[in-house]
């Protein structure tokens, strides 16, 4: 039986797809057979982040509507063994997804895989609700700003009421907080919410903290999940996150202001 993990946030643009791609890659690199599913029907992006956009033939909607088999639609990642991508349809909308269809796909995948990572669309409507409905665990991606925190709070409310686990009275969905785009300098100057405030409001366990990093945009544009870039702080932070997800204790990194040397202050040494 696979663990089903939904990566969600409520708010758009906080890094759900980047995080889903990076975490799925990290899980596969650790030897877990992993599939990452794009639920953002109509606004497909995961294939770009994973660098497989030229290999998409069939998609999730085709599978649900019986026009293609799962094995036809799944794309095997070229860089990582054990990693598969199930892309969304770009020409359809969220109404093309059905609860029964999603359940069948997840049940089928559960037989073969260790982890199923569901990349949720933004919002709290049908697409987002279908992505979270069958989840065992949720990674709530939050930026250090008030609107993102409030939207995450809303999603946490839905996770506690609008999921299969909640409706059937099973153990609740395990909720974990992933803070992305964290910039200790801006936190220090008061532009951004700090880690403690976010945790106090959302009151769930922190699974990771990803610093604001140039590496993220670079890797998105080149279609290589940032987990592969182990020289970068973001890549290392995602690796830590995956390790915690698998039960390892890892101390938190990248959340404190780094003292800049005299030279780097003069030459403005950017983060790698």
């Amino acid at each position: 039986m696979a663990r089903i993990i939904v990566v969600t946030s409520g708010k758009g643009g906080v890094g759900k797809t980047t995080s889903a791609a990076a975490i799925a890659t990290g899980l596969a690199l650790k030897g877990n057979k992993t599939v990452v599913i794009d639920f953002d029907v109509g606004l497909r992006n995961l294939d770009l982040i994973m660098g497989c956009e030229r290999r998409v033939v069939y998609d999730l909607v085709n599978v649900i509507q019986g026009e293609a088999g799962l094995n036809q639609a799944m794309i095997r990642d070229k860089r990582t063994d054990n990693l598969y991508i199930l892309p969304a349809s770009q020409t359809r909308d969220k109404d093309a997804l059905t609860l029964e269809g999603v359940e069948q796909v997840l049940d089928k995948l559960s037989e073969d895989f260790d982890y199923i990572v569901c990349d949720s669309p933004a919002g709290i409507e049908r697409g987002a609700q279908l992505a979270m409905y069958f989840a065992d665990e949720a990674i709530v991606v939050t930026n250090p700003e008030v609107s993102s925190v409030r939207d995450s709070d809303r999603i946490l409310g839905l996770l506690a009421s609008k999921t299969r686990r909640a409706e059937q009275g099973q153990d609740p969905v395990v909720e974990r907080l992933l803070i992305t785009r964290y910039d200790p300098n801006r936190v220090d100057s008061g532009d951004m919410l700090n880690l403690e405030d976010i945790q106090e409001i959302l009151a769930i366990k922190l699974i990771g903290l990803i610093p604001e990093s140039e590496a993220v945009l670079r890797s998105s544009n080149s279609g290589v999940p940032v987990t592969h870039d182990q020289d970068s702080d973001a890549g290392q932070a995602y690796s830590d996150t995956v390790a915690r997800l698998l039960g390892d204790e890892k101390p938190l990194r990248f959340h404190q202001l780094q003292k800049k040397s005299f030279l780097s202050r003069i030459f403005g040494g950017g983060r790698r």
Binding site: R150, D153, R154, G157, L158, A160, I201, A203
Partner: protein
């Protein structure tokens, strides 16, 4: 605010009253769907379903397919008490009367005035001096978009009420944690109740319809432990030591 004025020698007096009333706006005539949804709501907030009187609004429906008697039975089996029907055709009106229900003409203006629907105007006479029985304890964080209510008695929240969340009670609201959302006490008009919280950062405070927004709150009281109650018709926020 004396309530004794109408105790005269006559057997009764007719009084115009504006009682808070729940309107159940039907989007579907299907009793099965309504029943399923009610069952879901019942498990979320059992305190609400205590033979609560409701008005069934059929304005949005094509009412030819509506089985009013069946619908009333569904409501009653979920501890809702239909008292009247609003809108619908002549046929609906007749069958409402036959079932012993009142009938109201359809509502003309339909702006959404959600705040007023839950908070009675300040000059209202209490609907009933409800005993502080019933009540409800909620443990955990009340999250943005969630609404926790106690239709009778006090509401106790052991945890935070986050921004965008709403907690309501017929009696007082007690929050053992930060209050960042909206808190409404005395929603049926009880003026003797209050709001108590550990860390005040409320979007809105209301006791029996008298309200203050975050903007109206003295900044020196923010993030302190306070009680909120009515004094001389004014909402007063006082530090609790």
């Amino acid at each position: 605010m004396s309530l004794k004025v109408d105790q005269t020698a006559t057997a009764f007096t007719f009084k115009g009253g504006m009682l808070p009333m729940t309107v159940m706006e039907l989007n579907s005539p299907d009793p099965e769907r309504i029943s399923a949804q009610l069952a879901g709501k019942l498990s979320q907030s059992p305190a609400f379903f205590q033979h609560t009187p409701v008005v069934l609004s059929v304005e949005k429906l094509d009412d030819t397919a509506l089985a009013l008697e069946r619908l009333c039975a569904v409501c009653r089996s979920h501890k809702l008490l239909p008292v009247a029907v609003r809108g619908g055709s002549e046929g609906i009106k007749q069958s409402a009367w036959a079932l012993g229900l009142g009938w109201f003409p359809p509502q003309e203006s339909r702006e959404s005035r959600t705040l007023e629907s839950v908070t009675p105007p300040p000059d209202r006479v209490p609907a009933a001096s409800s005993a502080p029985s019933g009540g409800r304890i909620f443990r955990g964080t009340v999250r943005s978009g969630q609404q926790i209510s106690a239709a009778e008695g006090d509401l106790v929240v052991v945890g935070a009420v986050n921004a965008g969340a709403e907690v309501l009670a017929a009696g007082s609201v007690h929050i053992y944690g930060p209050l960042r959302g909206r808190a409404l006490a005395g929603i049926h008009g009880d003026r003797d109740c209050g709001i108590f919280c550990h860390e005040l950062h409320a979007e809105l405070l209301s006791v029996a319809g008298n309200y203050k927004r975050l903007e109206d709150i003295d900044p020196s009281l923010l993030n302190t432990t306070v009680q909120v109650r009515l004094r001389d018709n004014q909402l007063s926020i006082e530090a609790l030591v």
